[in-house]
């Protein structure tokens, strides 16, 4: 199978700062692969067989090292969509850019059978990019996937619902978004790291994708963030335990209060 995996690098910090436009300040912050995207990537690596896995991400040129570490885990191609014009993109502008990139890859490389994404990113938490991408690419889409198999030309997948697990079957090409931790991502191998040193990261800019300035980034984003506020402490009237022992003692008290 030929699979495209869309990944996002997210900040690995407790506190993030925003600029006046409420755009996250990602400089000097360690970026890691979004957990649900890791699951999508591992699923792709297991499904690819004799095919290929292409990873696409949109971000700063500093994402290069992290993409190389994915090449070392068995990814065949890594594509970095990077341009100042993409800064501040909302989910719609991101999905539009990704959809154009996917189409350009289809022409330049071989066609694809499947696009896998994480179901949501831990920074924005909207979960909107995968369905928007599916609409823009006019492809069937299933979210909240925990398991995927490929059987006689059909995709058989498990989807997590509030009341249980739904089993679905669909044809290719399709877009699926995976739940975090459903497929723990493998580590890089020494051989893979050696190979990755010599591999090229494909870089795509706004011009290469043929996108107008007003179609990308903040300018191409219909979303306007009016205000972001921190969660005021104490709103739920909770007491934070100072240590584990205190926490356990308090928990025991609360359990004792529950009528049997």
């Amino acid at each position: 199978m030929n699979i495209i995996v869309c990944i996002k690098l997210v900040p690995s910090v407790m506190n993030l700062t925003m600029d006046q436009e409420y755009v996250m300040q990602r400089d000097r912050v360690v970026q890691v692969i979004n957990p649900a995207d890791e699951a999508a990537l591992e699923a792709a690596l297991r499904l690819k067989g004799n095919g290929s896995v292409t990873v696409i991400t949109m971000g700063k040129p500093s994402g290069d090292d992290e993409l190389r570490s994915l090449l070392a885990r068995g990814v065949d191609r890594a594509v970095l969509i990077t341009d100042k014009a993409f800064a501040g993109a909302d989910t719609y502008a991101t999905a539009r850019t990704l959809s154009v990139a996917v189409n350009s890859l289809g022409n330049n490389l071989e066609d694809f059978d499947l696009i896998l994404c994480g179901r949501r990113a831990i920074d924005g938490e909207t979960g909107q990019v995968p369905p928007e991408l599916a609409i823009l690419l006019k492809l069937p889409f299933v979210t909240n996937i925990t398991k995927i198999n490929f059987n006689q030309g059909k995709i058989v997948c498990s989807r997590r619902l509030e009341e249980g697990i739904e089993e679905l079957e669909l044809g290719t090409p399709a877009i699926l978004s995976l739940c975090e931790y459903s497929y723990p991502l493998r580590l890089a191998t020494i051989l893979g790291l050696q190979k990755a040193r010599r591999m090229q990261i494909i870089t795509l800019s706004r011009e290469m994708l043929g996108l107008k300035k007003e179609e990308c980034g903040l300018k191409g984003s219909p979303t306007r963030v009016r205000r972001i506020t921190g969660q005021p402490q104490g709103i739920r009237n909770v007491t934070i335990a100072k240590n584990i022992d205190e926490g356990i003692a308090r928990l025991s008290e609360l359990i004792a209060e529950v009528p049997l």
Partner: protein, 359 residues
Amino acid sequence: MMSQNSKKHTEACRFCWMCRHLCPVGLTTGREVNTPRAKALLLSMVDRGEKFDKDIAQAMYECVLCGSCTNDCVTGFDPTIFIREARTMAAVEDLLPKAVEEIITNISNTGNIYGVQKPKYTGTAAKAEVLLYIGEVAACKQPTLVTAIMSLLKKADIPFTVLEEEPASATFLGDLIGFVEEVRIQAKDCANAINTSGAKTVVVLDSYEATTMKQRYPEWNCTINADVVTATSFIAGLIEEGKLVPKKITGEVTYHDDSRLARDLDEHEPVRNIIKAMGLNLQEMFLNRRMAKCCGSELLKAYAPELAALTAEGRWEDVNRTTADTLVVVSPQVMNVMGAKVPSAKQIKDLYVLLDQAC
């Protein structure tokens, strides 16, 4: 190719000297390169275009990954992250020191760092709720320790099993080439073998291996379907439950906390409870518990014996500052490293052997 996380730590440590006085290697060699700061500086230069060469690779192996620097860092930085990653880089760039390469060959040929057939041990039952994971250092170099702990389990009426073919825990490979997929696969095989045994509790003799199983296996999705406990807490528990009742022995001893048990697992009291239960008078060493100065490790001894001799001598100096004439240890690695450099007026004893004699 260093991760962004590693770079964050090298950028912080490269101009900081705050933990240099704690590095057991730097303290004994006196060389600038043997400080956490110097290692960070070298790697930050590599990040700025300097060539990662054999000398830099060599410097990364002059470290026991003891975590003394990390433990002392008030700003929460961890040099072991970039040192391990630099070791991966050394393997990728074909720059491993020759002695390190030989150990990796031993591991791939025999599953242990010595390159020998690992001696086999048997438990009291083919299947039991308790599995004793002996580990390669104890199995190959400390049979007396293994016999003592098995004898203690028998005396406490604990049926136990031992894996017929005990796989490597991935601890040593992980310390040699960093956390890569080859290491995770070794860990997965070990977890699978433990799970197949059906044991509910795994008693791990070597604290280095207990640390890997308790802290790394979950990160690597190598689930062990049993409680993993260190031999020290398991034995201390048996004393507490009255299943082992040691006779009192008189004498003054000191104890060396090994770095992974005391720092990574934050476990220092069970050993002290065992010592107390035996009636021994414990003289604490300068730098004990989480602050303990590492004596070296079996791995360091395997690829850099002269360096391990120096770190062991460094720790014996601390023993010499106490009034105790006996150093008790619970780790097969400490027994090997410190046991090779015992000063004439001192002796080293294995706590399990002493306890077995007292029970």
